[in-house]
């Protein structure tokens, strides 16, 4: 069946709505920075890696004696120009550093979301079409267990079983794999299995319940009876008429879950030492590398906003009633 086109105004409107959100996030971050007692650049004084003139230049650039709103303005302009500061620990621009690490995180998050959806949709739909059956109850119990298991614990258990006991999968994620060709990809896949599984199962568990309740809401509607009366068969009734509509609210819920996914990604990256922005955040916190900490926090907040935008567009694409409004 054909899918309608999302109108351009809809997308533009959603893009415009993003701007106040991003500004809000920047205000929150800047307030935290400004409220933090002491001069955020004090620690640079004790850092022998920083020449005094760099520090003086930084102080001047940030105009630490200016009124707050002015400092915010300068900070925001610098942020927008991509001038996110310099990491004295890694000796490179913060933006370069983050860009190096970001793809890994996005791949891990993306793959785990695909895994989560691949689990949640079939399980949730099956459970909803047989409410209160044995399958439903088992699925429900597993879903509960799944989102009550903290990701750091699942990660450790997987390492214990698959790396230490069975020795099937590598323990630690490595960016510099010596192999080439197929072996190269295979090694990458192998080392990604556990982080992706940990995140995917956690997400999937929460999603199963959403999908189930959404399908249960749709399956009682009149047009499902209409679909049954067409003689297209129960399978097509479910896939074409029930699931397709039931997924619309699920898209929003997936987007609302993004902040939680990021939290999970930070933990998983830390456990498996995946070189993404999550482990970068932790290591720069432990190394007192403030510019990187601020940069990563801002980037992750932006990513959540962008995922929300994608969800909004998907929503408009899935639900013709929205895009016409």
């Amino acid at each position: 069946m054909q899918v309608h086109r999302v109108s351009r105004q809809y997308v533009i409107r959603k893009l415009l709505i993003m701007i106040p959100s991003l500004l809000g996030i920047s205000v929150v971050l800047f307030s935290l920075l400004a409220l933090a007692p002491g001069d955020p650049f004090d620690e640079l004084a004790t850092n022998p890696a920083v020449p005094p003139e760099v520090r003086a230049a930084l102080r001047a650039k940030f105009g630490l004696d200016d009124p707050v709103w002015m400092r915010y303005w300068h900070w925001l302009i610098a942020l927008l120009q991509g001038d996110w500061g310099f990491s004295f620990v890694s000796r490179m621009d913060v933006s370069t550093l983050i860009m190096q690490r970001l793809p890994v995180t996005l791949i891990v998050i993306g793959a785990s979301q695909i895994l989560a959806i691949a689990i949640a949709i079939p399980v949730g739909v099956l459970a909803a079409t047989r409410p209160y059956s044995l399958f439903d109850q088992v699925a429900n119990t597993f879903a509960f267990i799944g989102f009550s298991l903290p990701t750091f614990f699942t990660g450790l258990v997987l390492i214990l079983v698959f790396s230490i006991q069975l020795d099937w999968l590598p323990f630690v994620y490595r960016a510099d794999i010596a192999a080439t060709g197929w072996a190269f990809y295979w090694e990458h896949i192998k080392q990604s299995i556990m982080p992706v599984t940990v995140l995917g199962l956690f997400q999937g568990a929460a999603l199963v319940r959403f999908v189930r309740s959404s399908v249960l809401d749709v399956i009682r509607l009149d047009y499902v009876t209409t679909a049954r009366s067409k003689g297209i068969g129960e399978r097509k009734v479910i896939t074409r008429h029930v699931v397709r509509t039931a997924l619309i609210p699920v898209v929003t819920l997936v987007a609302l879950q993004m902040p939680i996914v990021f939290s999970g990604a930070i933990v998983t990256e830390q456990i498996f030492r995946v070189p993404g922005i999550g482990s970068l955040l932790i290591s720069s916190m432990l190394a007192n590398d403030t510019p990187v900490v601020m940069g990563v926090t801002f980037v992750s907040a932006c990513l959540v906003v962008i995922f929300n935008l994608i969800a909004d567009i998907l929503y408009g694409w899935l639900d013709p009633r929205i895009a016409f409004r």
Binding site: G24, F152, L160
Partner: protein, 275 residues
Amino acid sequence: MALVSALALAVILFAVLAGPFIWRVPINEIDFAAKLQGPSWKHPLGTDDLGQDLLSRLIYGGRISIAVGFAAMVVAIFFGVLVGAIAGMSSGRVDAALMWVTDLFLSLPQLPLLLLVIYLFREPVKGVLGVEGGAFVLIVAVIGGTRWMSAARLVRAQFLSLREKEFVEAARALGASRLRQVTQHILPNALGPVIVVATIDVAAAIIAESTLSFLGLGFPSDVPTWGSVLRDAKDYLDIAPHWALFPGALIFITVLAINFIGDGLRDALDPRRVL
């Protein structure tokens, strides 16, 4: 399921509260001769790399983890009810502004924000309140401060519908002040769903605390909490798996039990019936 969970939670609560009086091994007694041992009669849950007894460390850690969970929930519910009540009673701009802020906080990635605040404020708070107390107050405040949004939205929705109900209108007609309307008539009726959210918040706060400690940004590692014990254990997974499994299982069982209780309460209180 909810009853079994309540029982399990009661057992854990009893163990961490009464545990220190029954199991009197100090948490920081170092015994290198007995390091990294598995469970035995002398150390029922084994020992860590310094030969410290895990059972007493986990009992102590449980106290902290659960206390953080409840305290953070109280903070979160307090702010949530406050924001939700103000938004629900006022209308127009105040409501819209508060809801915008709520949605903004909902879309912020929680863990990076938690980590950032702790990172920025750790040292000064420690200076004022001491190492352990400082960490406790900061962690509770931060977890509570980033988890109030769902309670706020819920309370607002409840208020919007309840304030139009006849019994509230009657109170209004009788000249009850706004504060009295809220505290005497609306809030008690909005409480059911809030209790459900509060229950689930305890579980989420316990996970958040464990996560922070696990990442090394929660309690300092000489203070055992379930998360920090797990962090210390993760480098010894190959030779002392028990060290990681016990705290992990405790977190899991506690959180699972609380979630099941929340679900049971939801069924019993069915928020839709109130709306």
